[in-house]
């Protein structure tokens, strides 16, 4: 990238999470943008602080201490902007936020399987909890619908329905109970409304609910025809609506937003934007996947050739909502990932204790095993849920398996611990269950959302930071799709290093193998697969002299089958998981 394109502006990014607030500085070093450092402090959205800007200031102060550079004014109340000749301050700021309770949402669509589904998909792009839905197939009377809306007290209503120029009376019929319920609520409790339906009805929507909503937002129709769904423009509108709701709910966010000149985005949306951006820049015929296992939610963002999918699941977050995980899974399913013989009650107790203290961490080995098991199951469930909304035409080996993704980027506290990349990788392999050949990257500083937010101010910065090594490459993973007997040879690979030396592996079913290939190095790989084994080139077809890149672990061969084949016997299963852990250096 020519240096002349770089404007020499420093950018501070603040991410206000449920547990931690991070302040990250990006600056120009030797003509290119670099990730400089990051400061972390506990978030202060909750009592007794009840002011997210306090946590942000603490994070900035932590960053100041690392950098030995002044960013806050002497009173430590305001950010120095723009940067001063003495090197203090920054030139711009972006803010991302995921802290706060899931936004209580009413989702409205005309037809249950069409616009209501689209509205649900749209709602799942942000930190929302769907409390109720309304559609034409709703059997309740209008007064029952009104009472339901009053009971759930939604913060937000998302309305879709009616193809452009299509049904209007039906949409109006659905809007009536919403308007009446809003009318009955005190002004300060009325929901914000997003209308993303039949565009001809905009004026009527304004007259029916406009004066009764705290905020009325419009977006282009997310279902302009039965066959077409276009959620992207509405996602941005919803993101802005979410930030406005959070500004009402969380003191101090208005201050940060003012500093940022309005450049505040939901963390999930910013991550999704980054995935879209990366898909455009590095797009291949495979998809690009980003998973973020955080305290407030699990975010799955996937970019495909012509479509991106952003899913935010507060119900699979590892913080205050973690007890709710048991509404979607069983303790036994969590325990199947455990290397230790842990009583089921310990899992339930852990979930409750963690929900009381979301910022607490595992101090003992046993606690760590529980945390990892819960994290695996949460990410597994999130991937299963997200897969329903991946495009059918996405490149895949089998439609019932995870589509082909390359690269896979992983972030969030449970995944980004770079001290043991093997453990993070195993968590990822078990829950995401990638297929074929993928590069795996750890976002150890949780930069994805910050770069996504920064892209709105500076589109060179994300590219240069990405290429600067701010992310940790774990390596290349080869995951054949096959089901056979344990111990059967399924794949033979030969890796030729840049210096001409070679290494070979004979992968057996049920095993994990590693060949070294350091970060920044490349090699050529030739793979021969057994009959019926598919690594993305078709059953029984391998590859010759394919260029691959290295990472902290090198080249990982996952011969455990897809879907992952785990023994039913708990003792044998635990032994195997231990072996897999050791194989990846996780201990």
């Amino acid at each position: 990238m020519p240096t002349s394109l770089v404007t020499s502006n420093s950018l501070l990014a603040i991410d206000v999470g449920a547990a931690n607030t991070r302040a990250v500085l990006f600056d120009v070093i030797e003509g290119e943008y670099r990730f400089v450092a990051s400061g972390v402090a506990p978030s202060t959205a909750e009592a007794p602080y009840k002011d997210v800007s306090e946590g942000a200031r603490n994070a900035i102060q932590a960053l100041q201490n690392i950098l030995q550079r002044t960013l806050l004014e002497q009173t430590a109340r305001s950010l120095i902007m723009p940067s001063q000749p003495d090197g203090s301050g920054v030139d711009s700021l972006v803010v991302t936020i995921s802290a706060g309770p899931a936004v209580r949402t009413l989702v409205v669509g005309l037809l249950k399987d069409v616009s209501l589904e689209s509205a649900r998909r749209l709602t799942e792009s942000t930190y929302a909890r769907i409390m109720d839905t309304l559609s034409l197939s709703d059997q309740r009377k209008p007064d029952q619908q009104i009472d339901s809306i009053l009971r759930i007290r939604p913060d937000m209503v998302v309305i879709a329905g009616g193809t452009d120029g299509g049904a209007s009376r039906s949409v109006k019929k659905l809007l009536e109970p919403i308007g009446l319920a809003s009318y009955l609520m005190p002004d300060e409790k009325r929901p914000a409304v997003l209308y993303a339906g039949n565009e001809k009805l905009v004026e009527e929507v304004k007259s029916l609910v406009g004066s009764l909503a705290t905020r009325l937002h419009f977006s282009s129709n997310i279902r302009p025809s039965l066959e077409v769904e276009d959620i992207d423009p509405a996602e941005l509108e919803l993101a802005q609506m979410f930030v406005a709701i959070r500004k009402k709910q969380l003191k101090g966010l208005d201050v940060l937003d003012l500093w940022a000149g309005g450049h505040t985005l939901p963390t999930a949306y910013a991550t999704g934007r980054m995935v879209r951006f990366l898909s455009n820049v590095y797009g291949t015929n495979k998809g690009l996947l980003s998973v973020d296992l955080g305290a407030s939610s699990t975010i799955i963002a996937a970019g495909f050739a012509n479509k991106s999918v952003l899913k935010t699941y507060p119900q699979f977050g590892l913080g205050e909502n973690i007890v709710g995980l048991l509404n979607y899974t069983t303790v036994e399913d969590i325990l199947r990932w455990s290397t230790l013989d842990i009583p089921p009650s310990a899992i339930v107790d852990y979930l409750h204790q963690k929900s009381l203290y979301p910022g607490s961490i595992a101090a003992t080995k046993e606690d760590f095993v529980i945390v990892q098991s819960v994290a695996k199951q949460a990410l597994y469930l999130a991937m299963q849920a997200a897969r329903r909304d991946f495009p059918k035409e996405a490149a895949s080996i089998k439609p019932t398996l995870t589509p082909l993704f390359d690269p896979i980027i992983a972030g969030g506290a449970a995944l980004s611990d770079a001290s043991r990349p093997g453990q993070s990788l195993l968590l990822l392999l078990d829950s995401v269950q990638p297929v074929g050949i993928s590069t795996v990257i750890l976002d150890q500083n949780n930069l994805m959302p910050m770069l996504g937010a920064a892209a709105s101010q500076n589109n060179i910065l994300p590219v240069q930071v990405l290429e600067s090594g701010a992310f940790l490459s774990v390596g290349t993973v080869v995951s054949p799709v096959v089901t056979t007997k344990y111990g059967t040879s399924i794949l033979k690979a030969k890796v030729t290093y840049e210096n001409g030396t070679e290494a070979n592996v004979n992968l057996k079913y049920g095993f994990l193998e590693i060949l070294p290939l350091a970060s920044g190095e490349t090699a050529r790989i030739t793979i021969q697969v057994s009959r019926g084994v598919d690594i993305g080139f078709g059953p029984g077809r391998g590859t010759k002299n394919m260029a691959i890149s290295g990472g902290a672990l090198g080249i990982v061969f996952d011969g455990r089958g897809r879907p992952l084949d785990m023994p039913a016997d708990p003792v044998r299963r635990r032994e195997l998981i231990k072996k897999w852990n050791w194989a990846l250096g996780g201990g």
Binding site: Y49, G100, D143, I146, Y183, I361, T364, D417
Partner: protein
């Protein structure tokens, strides 16, 4: 690093806001002395609504229906009262299905609220009303002992505290519950069976202070008509020594039990308040501390979960824990004289 504070204090001054969830009437006045059970504000709301689609029933346009509707906003209507009547020789009429109040008229429809419910807001703690929040509630100030919990079933009451615990790890068994405990607030220990809860409900008891409760009993505990406060956690946890000492030494005293559900955003916490005679107003507790040597702390996670200790030193930089994670940590001397290394995020200051 900032430290969260869990209040377990022998004598302090507290100020608590008591607010209605919706607008209503405040009954108390500034400087009024209130008891824990005294109603300080009240409100009413409709249990449900009935929408009468007059236009559809009479088969006329909404505009025409509006002209035929005989009631207006805020009218009180009795069941079977005529809401609208059509035109013609044999006009049809629309009648109210239940007693109610008209809350909206227009577009050919009438919306009634029916089944009014009343909500009374009690003081929760005995004390003095120091501020009125118009239409919402009061601020009460008082002095005494305070024990905060981690879980509450949302109910509130006051009564004589009776100690059924023989030690911090006592399990409450139904056999310990007898009729002499009727109307008391029970210091009960660990709750492991539904029978223990049922025995208290059968008395009935005025309240229960438990150290822990089995997760499977939480929904049953929410159904109980008396307040239940959990001091330490969900599962099987003994009572922390500070809470046990303070509560057990105050047995036979009147206590106020506000088992408000824990809300991390508002700061609402379940609390036991022990009114005590004072000669001068004790200081208010700190809501935030900074981790420092000498502070009394409670562990939030294993290996010493629930145990109280005091910080010996704050470790410089990051410490590698037995789990492999690296975090800011402190050396803590536990009550049993054992010294452990604990990440700061796994502790809360007690005081």
């Amino acid at each position: 690093m900032l430290a969260p504070v869990h209040h377990i204090i022998g004598l302090t001054t507290i100020v608590r806001e008591r607010l209605l969830p919706i607008s209503g009437n405040v009954l108390a006045r500034v400087q009024q002395k209130v008891t824990a059970g005294e109603v300080v504000a009240e409100t009413r709301w409709a249990r449900e609504h009935t929408l009468l689609d007059v236009a559809r029933i009479l088969g006329v346009s909404p505009a025409a229906a509006d002209r035929l509707i005989k009631c207006k906003m805020d009218d009180q209507i009795t069941a079977a009262a005529e809401v609208a009547v059509g035109r013609g020789l044999f006009p049809r009429s629309v009648r109210a299905p239940k007693d109610g109040r008209v809350v909206a008229v227009g577009g050919g429809q009438v919306l009634l609220e029916v089944g009014e419910a009343k909500m009374e807001l009690r003081a929760g703690i005995p004390g003095t009303v120091v501020q009125i929040i118009p239409n919402r509630g009061v601020v009460i100030q008082t002095s005494g002992g305070l024990v905060q919990g981690v879980w509450g079933n949302g109910r509130i009451d006051a009564g004589l505290l009776v100690n059924l615990m023989e030690g911090p790890d006592t399990v409450l068994v139904p056999a310990r519950v007898d009729v002499s405990l009727r109307g008391s607030i029970i210091l009960g220990g660990m709750i492991r069976t539904v029978e223990a809860l049922q025995a208290l409900a059968d008395l009935p008891a005025r309240g229960l202070i438990a150290s822990s409760i089995q997760p499977s009993l939480l929904s049953k505990a929410r159904e109980m008509r008396f307040p239940i406060l959990v001091t330490d956690g969900i599962g099987t946890l003994p009572m922390n020594s500070a809470a046990y000492k303070l509560l057990s030494t105050n047995a036979k005293r009147e206590v106020a039990l506000n088992a408000e559900a824990f809300d991390r955003y508002t700061g609402a916490r379940p609390e036991v308040f022990i009114p005590l005679p004072i000669s001068s107003e004790p200081p208010m507790p700190n809501e935030v501390e900074v981790f420092a040597p000498g502070l009394q702390v409670k562990m939030r996670r294993p290996p010493a979960m629930g145990i109280i200790g005091s910080i010996v030193s704050i470790k410089p930089g990051l410490t590698t824990l037995p789990s492999g994670l690296r975090a800011q940590a402190a050396e803590v001397k536990l009550e049993n004289n054992e010294t452990v290394i604990v990440p700061l995020v796994n502790m809360e200051v007690v005081g």
